[in-house]
């Protein structure tokens, strides 16, 4: 039920029958690209809106409520404003790098979205090394941040960029190791197979305590990798005004802003796929009636529901905790998360070897 494989297959067949293989491929690519871009923009805008509403509620405020009912068009209005704003030319900045930096950041996050499975068959490309691909692509974004900080010719920006570089490179390890735990369990790096391996239970539940530890570590280091929440040292508003994007304005700033929210979505989507069973519905062991009801909810809803929950938790972190200091941030990674992660991995390898997981 709700399988997109047949639908996508029929569309592919139709295109292949109507056009030559070259044109069919081109049309496929272009339509896919446009669809992803639209999805990216709309989702990014509404994540910004959601964050503003959520933080407002946590702070006893109402949040945006002027443009449209409940302010749902507020972020679109903001985007229009950003589009119309002047792009400020920075004296003595390295103009080429300065202009290219936001594109690197945003391209990295768009590319990452391509391999995320939204539902069965609804996935732009199902690579057999999907996890590796995501890790490789999402760590490309930091190059954009470093370039932005360096090319801005601003002292605050350089400090922010250096912090961001140190932070992302450190936390990349934890993200990778936490995901490696699930790869060990599932025995595959392909997203569709990882999801298929969770048919009888999500890894968070059937992976015992090690999987839970891996999940917590993944959430912490994922938050850190997106430069958000208590780990927003790269932009540390009260210390560095805005960190690496201090000198950016208009649409270039909007790119950074949107990329931050989309990175958060990507981190949450991977967590959903790896730990929470992706688009699979929630099943309880013997309650067949309950399971049937759950099956009726489309997988897209399951996927976005779980992702939204994780995004909410990340926003909750951000709006509650004070920011860490740079040395504490690195100490947390290298002294706590990394050793725990390594031990956790050994434990999981042992559990998998003995077939002790459910």
């Amino acid at each position: 039920m709700y399988d997109f494989t047949a639908l996508i297959g029929s569309i592919t067949n139709l295109l292949n029958e109507t056009f030559s293989p070259f044109w069919a491929g081109l049309i496929m690519m272009v339509s896919l690209g446009v669809a992803l871009l639209l999805f990216y923009a709309v989702l990014g805008l509404y994540l910004v809106y959601a964050e503003r509403k959520i933080c407002a509620r946590m702070q006893n405020r109402m949040g945006p409520n002027r443009v449209g009912p409940l302010g749902i068009f507020q972020t679109i209005a903001d985007l229009i404003k950003l589009l119309l704003k002047e792009l400020i030319y920075i004296k003595n900045a390295d103009n080429f790098l300065f202009n290219i930096a936001p594109f690197i950041v945003i391209v990295a996050s768009i590319m990452a979205i391509g391999s995320i499975p939204f539902a069965k068959g609804l996935q732009a490309i199902d690579l057999n090394i999907g996890v590796l691909y995501i890790l490789a692509i999402s760590s490309m974004g930091v190059i954009g941040i470093l370039l932005a900080g360096w090319a801005s010719n601003s002292k605050y920006s350089v400090i922010g960029a250096m912090r961001s570089g140190a932070q992302v490179i450190s936390y990349e390890l934890s993200v990778g190791l936490a995901l490696l735990c699930i790869i060990t369990y599932a025995g595959s790096m392909q997203f569709s197979e990882i999801i298929a391996s969770q048919q009888d239970g999500w890894w968070l539940f059937k992976g015992h305590i090690p999987a839970f530890i891996a999940f917590v570590i993944y959430l912490i280091s994922g938050t850190a990798e997106t430069n958000r929440g208590p780990f927003d040292l790269a932009e540390a508003e009260s210390e560095l005004t805005a960190g690496f994007h201090t000198e950016y304005s208009g649409i270039k700033f909007a790119f950074f802003f949107l990329a931050e929210y989309m990175n958060m979505f990507i981190i949450a989507a991977i967590a959903t796929t790896m730990f929470l069973g992706g688009w699979l519905p929630f099943h309880l062991f013997q309650w067949h009636g309950f399971n049937r009801v759950m099956d009726f909810i489309p997988p897209v809803f399951w996927f976005f529901g779980k992702t939204a929950f994780i995004i909410y938790v990340m926003m909750w972190f951000k709006w509650t905790f004070p920011r860490l200091r740079i040395d504490q941030l690195l100490a947390l990674e290298w002294k706590y998360l990394l050793p725990i992660n390594l031990m956790n991995l050994i434990l999981i390898a042992f559990l998998t070897l003995m077939q002790w997981h459910f």
């Binding site: 702070q59 006893n60 909750w316 972190f317």
Partner: protein
Amino acid sequence: MAFLKTIKEVGHYFYEIYDGAASLVRGMKVTGSYFVRPSSIVTQQYPENRATLKMFDSFKGELMLIHDENNKHSCNVCNTCARKCPNGSIEIIYKKVEGADGRSKKILDKYIHHLETCSFCGLCVPSCDELALKFDQKFELAVFDRSKLTKVLNKPGSSSKAMKE
């Protein structure tokens, strides 16, 4: 003994981790509890609630010269308020007329309040022996043109109560 001490230290180490995590959860409980309670919203919707928005009686808004229903105020041009004002915001322009008894008498021509230099210290109102002044409840004092901030407080055609005719 050393063994016990080590046990204690290890216990303390794990207690610290637990304590740290618990402190984070406590903080999240506060924000989370407000998130699920929309009734805790304290902000107001300003231009919409303009009709119900009432300032307190003693609110120091715009300065005004009290006029009664016959368009009469009670300023007798003693200039006390202008002298009490620390910023020189009050300017009283008067003209001299012949009174009924033949002596020249000052009557108010223009009572000018320079709102742009007023610091709302409230010294002028109690200084008036005739109780001619009070603070209005009006609080939306922003204007687009600085010249609009120079206000003439006596209404056109008004006259002083002290003047009999």
